[in-house]
C-alpha cells in the first residue's frame, strides 16, 4: 500500500466517525469534552455554529452519528450490549444547562450588504440559510404559511417530545439577526415571486403532502381516517384535542411513532401500530420504536391493509392480509401472502402514516425551474442550484423527505452557494473545510484531553412517570441527563478527534506501541496489497469501512500499519513511544460557511466564529 496522506483533511475526518456521519459535520467530540468540563455555553456554541438547532436536535435528531460511533464497535465482545455514546442526549445537555446570556454570544446583525434573499418556508433548511446569510449582512425575508417559524419542527413533532419553548428560543435566535419573517404569508406563485426584485430565492418548503391509502372504504369512512402529518399538525395547533377509543396507526416510520404516542395521550385506550414490513425493517429509528412500545403500544408486523370496514360511514375496523418476507437471489425483498385467513382489527379511528411526498403546486411549470419525473426539482447535488440560477432548494424540498440535520446541512451548502453566486464567484467550486491539527502533549505523560478510557455503560435518559406523561400531550417525556450523568456519559466518548499521528523518520522500531496497544491496532510488517495486509495484522482488520493508516518504509524496510477501526485513542502508543514518533494531535474540522471564508479571497463582513 502507499503511505497514507494525512495532509488530506478527509483522512482524519473519516476517523472521527460521528462527525463524518453527521450531515452537518458537527465536531462532536469537541463539544462532548466541553460538556465534561461543565462548559455548557461553549458546547452549545460549537453546536449552534454547526447545526443551528442544538436544543431541538438534542431531542429529535435522527442521530446518524450514533450508529457510526466507535464506542459501539469497541464494546463488541466486551460488554453484553454494545452501545454508542448518547451523543444526541448530550447535545441536549448543552442546551439545557447553558447560561441565560446566550444571546450575548451570538452574532449581531451587521450592516446590510444590499442583497435581498427570499426563503420560502420557515423550516430548518430555510432558517439555516437565513442565519448564515443574515449574519453576513444579507437582507433575508422568510415566508411561511403558518404564524410562527419552525416548519416541520413546530407542526409535526409532538410537544411531548419537543416543548414549544425550545422551538421559540432557537427560531428566535435566527430571526433576531435582522431576518424579516412574514408569518401567515404563503407564497402561491413562484412566477410572481421571481418578478419581485430578489437577488436569490431559497425554497425550503419541505415535503408537505402525506401519502394516502386508496383501498375500499377509504372514501366512505373518511371522517374517521386521517393523514398522519396533517393530523399531527392539527394536534400541534390545538385543532384536534381528542381521539376515539380504538386507534390504528398505519406505517412504520417516525411519523407513525409520533402519531401513535400522540393518540395515546389524547385519550385512546387501545392504540396499535400496523406495518406491512417486518419489525426490523421499519423505517422508524430503533429508539422511537422502543419508546412507543414502552408506552404500551403494540407493533403488529407483516399485515398489509386491505379494506376499511364501516357502518353507514362510521369506521368499525380494518381488514389486513398476512404476508411474509421472501428474498430473491439478489437479496431483494418481496412480501408474499402466507395464505392465512385475513385478519380484522376493530377500530374507531385510523391514522395513515405511510410516507410523505413533495408537492410544488405553487411553482408554475413554465417559470424555468425544471422538475424530474418524480416531481422533484432538477438540482446540482452539491450547490443545490436549480435550473433558474438564482433559485436554490434545500431540505426535504430538494431530494425528498430526510430529516432535520440533513435539512440544516443543505441550508449551509445552499447559503455558501448563494453567497458565492452573489459575489460573482463560480459556485461549483466549493470552499475547503477549515482544519486544525495540534499536538495535545502537555508533559511527559500528560495530555490536554482525558485519555483514560471509561468502562461505564451507556446511561439511560430518565423519563417522566408514565401516568403523568400519558395524561397530557404537552408533558415532555424525556427529562434529559442531569449534570452528573452527563459527565459520566461524556466520559464514554473516546475522543476520536484526538488523532494518532505517526512520524516514520522518528521511529526506532522498538515495538513499544505494539506491546501496549490494548486493541492490537498496530503492526510492523512487510508491505503488501491492502487485502493481504488486512489479513496478517496483529488483529485482523475485517472492517473494510475503516482505513488502514500506513507509513512509508522504515529502517528495516518494514512499514507501520494501524487499523483505525477500534482504536481507543487512549494515547498509550504515544506515551510508550521513546522518540515521539507517535503523537496525539487534535483534529478540528469545521465546514466553511457563507461569508468571506467561503469566497476566493475578497474581504467582506466577519463570519460566524466558533467562540470555543
Amino acid at each position: 500500500m502507499r503511505p497514507t496522506d494525512v495532509d488530506d483533511p478527509g483522512y482524519f475526518h473519516k476517523v472521527v466517525d460521528c462527525q463524518w456521519a453527521c450531515p452537518a459535520h458537527t465536531p462532536v467530540p469537541e463539544y462532548i469534552r466541553l460538556i465534561a468540563q461543565g462548559r455548557y455555553d461553549d458546547a452549545y456554541m460549537v453546536n449552534w455554529v454547526s447545526n443551528v438547532f442544538p436544543g431541538v436536535l438534542g431531542r429529535t435528531c435522527d442521530r446518524p452519528c450514533e450508529p457510526a460511533c466507535r464506542r459501539g464497535r469497541v464494546e463488541e465482545q466486551n460488554t453484553a450490549k454494545p452501545e454508542p455514546v448518547a451523543i444526541c442526549r448530550l447535545k441536549r445537555v448543552a442546551a439545557d444547562f447553558k447560561g441565560d446570556d446566550m444571546r450575548a454570544r451570538l452574532p449581531r446583525a451587521p450592516a446590510k450588504n444590499g442583497k435581498r434573499v427570499a426563503c420560502i418556508g420557515a423550516g430548518p433548511a430555510s432558517l439555516t440559510v437565513a442565519r448564515d446569510l443574515a449574519s453576513q449582512g444579507y437582507a433575508v425575508t422568510v415566508f411561511d404559511g403558518e404564524q410562527k417559524a419552525g416548519g416541520f419542527i413546530r407542526t409535526q413533532i409532538p410537544r411531548f417530545r419537543l416543548p414549544e419553548s425550545v422551538i421559540d428560543e432557537e427560531c428566535g435566535y435566527i430571526l433576531n439577526l435582522g431576518v424579516e419573517f412574514r408569518g401567515g404569508q404563503r407564497v402561491d406563485s413562484m412566477s410572481a415571486l421571481l418578478a419581485e426584485p430578489w437577488d436569490a430565492v431559497f425554497v425550503g418548503c419541505g415535503a408537505p403532502r402525506g401519502r394516502d391509502l386508496d383501498i375500499p372504504g377509504r372514501r366512505e369512512a373518511a371522517a374517521d381516517i386521517h393523514i398522519g402529518i396533517d393530523w399531527l399538525a392539527s394536534v400541534s395547533f390545538g385543532h384536534v384535542s381528542s381521539v376515539k377509543k380504538r386507534v390504528i396507526v398505519l406505517g412504520g416510520g417516525n411519523t407513525a411513532m409520533d402519531c401513535c404516542r400522540s393518540a395515546r395521550r389524547l385519550g385512546a385506550d387501545e392504540v396499535r401500530v400496523v406495518v406491512r414490513s417486518g419489525y426490523e425493517e421499519m423505517k422508524a429509528s430503533p429508539w422511537e420504536k422502543e419508546d412507543a412500545m414502552h408506552e404500551g403500544i403494540p407493533i403488529i408486523n407483516y399485515h398489509v391493509p386491505k379494506a376499511f370496514l364501516h357502518e353507514n360511514g362510521t369506521l368499525t375496523g380494518m381488514v389486513f392480509e398476512i404476508v411474509k418476507a421472501v428474498y430473491d437471489d439478489q437479496g431483494r425483498r418481496s412480501l408474499v401472502p402466507t395464505g392465512e385467513a385475513d385478519v380484522t382489527i376493530p377500530c374507531d379511528e385510523v391514522l395513515i402514516a405511510v410516507g410523505q411526498e413533495n408537492s410544488f403546486p405553487w411553482i408554475e411549470r413554465d417559470c424555468g425551474i425544471a422538475f424530474d419525473r418524480w416531481g422533484l426539482p432538477e438540482l446540482d447535488a452539491k450547490t443545490f442550484q436549480s435550473t433558474v440560477p438564482k433559485v436554490f432548494f434545500g431540505g426535504d424540498a430538494a431530494f425528498g423527505p430526510k430529516n432535520i440535520i440533513t435539512a440544516v446541512a443543505h441550508g449551509h451548502e445552499a447559503a455558501v452557494s448563494i453567497d458565492r453566486f452573489l459575489h460573482d464567484e463560480p459556485i461549483a467550486k466549493r470552499p475547503p473545510p477549515h482544519v486544525n491539527l495540534v499536538s495535545q502533549k502537555m508533559g511527559i505523560h500528560e495530555w490536554s484531553y482525558h485519555n483514560a478510557v471509561s468502562n461505564d455503560l451507556r446511561s439511560k435518559v430518565p423519563w417522566a412517570a408514565a401516568q403523568k406523561a400519558l395524561a397530557s400531550i404537552k408533558v415532555e417525556v424525556e427529562l434529559g441527563f442531569d449534570p452528573v450523568t452527563a459527565l459520566k456519559e461524556a466520559e464514554r466518548c473516546l475522543n476520536c478527534d484526538v488523532q494518532t499521528v505517526f512520524t516514520e523518520k522518528q521511529c526506532i522500531e522498538c515495538d513499544a506501541c505494539v506491546d501496549i496497544c490494548p486493541m492490537d491496532c498496530i503492526t510492523f510488517t512487510d508491505n503488501g496489497e491492502e487485502e493481504d495486509l488486512r489479513a496478517r495484522l496483529k488483529a485482523p482488520a475485517t472492517n473494510a469501512e475503516q482505513a488502514l493508516y500506513v507509513s512509508g518504509p522504515l529502517k528495516t524496510s518494514r512499514i507501520m500499519v494501524k487499523d483505525e477501526d477500534v482504536c481507543l485513542h487512549c494515547g498509550l502508543c504515544a506515551e510508550r513511544c521513546p522518540t515521539g514518533a507517535w503523537d496525539m494531535q487534535k483534529f478540528l474540522l469545521q465546514t466553511t460557511q457563507a461569508g468571506p471564508a467561503c469566497r476566493d479571497g475578497k474581504p467582506g463582513t466577519v463570519r460566524v466564529v466558533n467562540a470555543a
Binding site: N455, I508, C510, A512, P518, M519, D520, T542, L568, R576
Partner: protein, 351 residues
C-alpha cells in the same frame, strides 16, 4: 512510565486458548519502565508464549532479582506466583522452590547486572545443576537504574552515552551457559518477537536448564552511536543461525523448506520442535561446535541469535538427586512418616 491503567477493553476478535484465557489475561500491571524499553517487549513475548502454549497462569512461578529487568515480572502473568529476591540471588531461590515443588513452571527473569555481576556465581551453579527452568537475561549492557554505567556484559570498546570507552572484557553469558552444562541455550533480540516468542516456547517445553540471553536495548542510556546494544547496531550485526518454525508440528503455514534445511528436535513431553536452519552448516545439537561458532562470530563483532544449542535428552536436578516425584506440599503424613517397618528397613540397610 505511564499513569493510566491499560484499558480493559480488547479487540473484538481476541480469542481464548484451550484453558479459557485470552492473551490479555496473561498481562500484569502497567509497566513503570522507560518508554521504549526493550524489556517491555520481552514481557509481551512471554505473555504471547504462555498464551499460545495454553499455560495456566497459576502453574507458573516467576522469580527475579534486582534491576530494571527484575522489575518486569510485575508486568506480565499477573495471576502467577512471584518472588523478588535479594540482588543476584534469584537462581538459589528458584532452585529451592523447584526442589520443593517440581510441578510448577519456573521463570527466572534477570538482567546483566543481576546475573553477570553480583549474581555470577549463582548463575553458574544453577546452570551446572541443571535446574529445570526458563532463565531469561534481559541484557542491555548498562546499569539503567543507576543511570547507565557499563555493566559486566558491555563489549570492550563500546561507548557510553557520555562518550567513555569501555576497557573491560565482557562476561559472555552464552559461552558460560554452554560450558557449564545448560541444555537449552538461545539468544534473542527484544526487537524481533517473531524469533523471540518461539525461543521462549521452546525453553518452556524443555526438560532441563534453559537459558535465553535477550539483547534488550536501553533506550535511555544505551541506544546511541558507539553502543553495541542499540537497536540499530543489533539489527545491523544480527546473525540468526536458525528459526524455530513451529512447535508440536502444528499444520505448516510457510512453504516446505528444502531437504537438509530442517531438523526436528523431540521435546520431553513427546511433542516435536522443528528448526529451520538459516546456516546450513550450523548444528545446534553439537555443543562444542556451537561454542566455537558463537565465539568466532563474536570475535568479528557479530551477534549470533537463534537456538544455539539444545540437548533433547536433557536431565534435570531432580533426576540427579533422585527426589520424590511429587511436590513436597502434596506429600501426606503417611508418605512422610511411613511407620516402624520402613524405619527398620532403613536401619537394616545401614548395618
Amino acid at each position: 512510565m505511564t499513569y493510566i491503567a491499560r484499558p480493559r477493553l480488547h479487540h473484538p476478535t481476541l480469542v481464548r486458548n484451550k484453558v479459557g484465557y485470552t492473551r490479555r489475561d496473561y498481562e500484569g500491571k502497567i509497566s513503570t519502565l522507560c518508554a521504549g524499553c526493550g524489556h517491555d517487549s520481552i514481557s509481551a513475548a512471554i505473555v504471547q508464549a504462555c498464551w499460545e502454549l495454553d499455560i495456566e497462569p497459576h502453574r507458573v512461578a516467576k522469580l527475579s532479582g534486582i534491576g530494571c529487568s527484575s522489575k518486569t515480572p510485575d508486568y506480565f502473568l499477573g495471576a502467577s506466583h512471584g518472588f523478588n529476591t535479594v540482588h543476584g540471588r534469584m537462581p538459589s531461590v528458584l532452585t529451592g522452590a523447584n526442589l520443593a515443588n517440581r510441578d510448577l513452571l519456573y521463570l527466572g527473569v534477570s538482567g546483566d547486572g543481576d546475573s553477570a555481576s553480583i549474581g555470577l556465581g549463582q548463575f553458574a551453579h544453577a546452570m551446572r545443576r541443571g535446574v529445570r527452568m526458563v532463565y531469561i537475561v534481559e541484557n542491555n549492557g548498562v546499569y539503567g537504574l543507576t543511570k547507565g554505567q557499563f555493566s559486566a556484559t558491555a563489549d570492550r570498546g563500546s561507548k557510553s552515552k557520555k562518550g567513555v570507552v569501555n576497557a573491560d572484557a565482557p562476561v559472555d553469558l552464552i559461552g558460560m551457559a554452554l560450558q557449564l552444562g545448560a541444555t537449552y541455550v538461545a539468544r534473542g533480540f527484544s526487537g524481533d518477537k517473531a524469533q523471540l516468542v518461539p525461543l521462549i516456547e521452546g525453553a518452556i517445553g524443555h526438560g532441563g536448564a534453559a537459558f535465553i540471553d535477550v539483547i534488550s536495548p536501553c533506550v535511555a542510556f544505551n541506544n546511541h552511536a558507539g553502543s553495541t546494544r542499540s537497536y540499530d547496531y543489533v539489527r545491523e550485526h544480527n546473525d540468526a543461525v536458525n528459526r524455530i518454525d513451529f512447535i508440536d508440528l502444528a499444520p505448516e503455514v510457510t512453504a516446505e523448506p528444502g531437504a537438509g534445511e530442517v531438523i526436528t528436535v523431540p521435546q520431553p513431553d513427546g511433542t516435536m520442535m522443528r528448526l529451520r536452519k538459516l546456516h546450513t552448516d550450523y548444528d545446534p545439537t553439537d555443543r562444542v561446535r556451537a561454542m566455537d561458532h558463537v565465539q568466532a562470530h563474536q570475535a568479528r563483532g557479530e551477534i549470533v541469535t537463534g537456538l544455539l544449542y539444545v540437548d533433547s535428552h536433557a536431565t534435570d536436578l531432580h533426576e540427579g538427586l533422585n527426589t520424590v516425584k511429587r511436590p513436597l506440599n502434596a506429600l501426606t503424613e503417611a508418605d512422610l512418616c511411613p511407620g516402624a517397618a520402613a524405619l527398620a528397613k532403613v536401619n537394616a540397610s545401614l548395618r
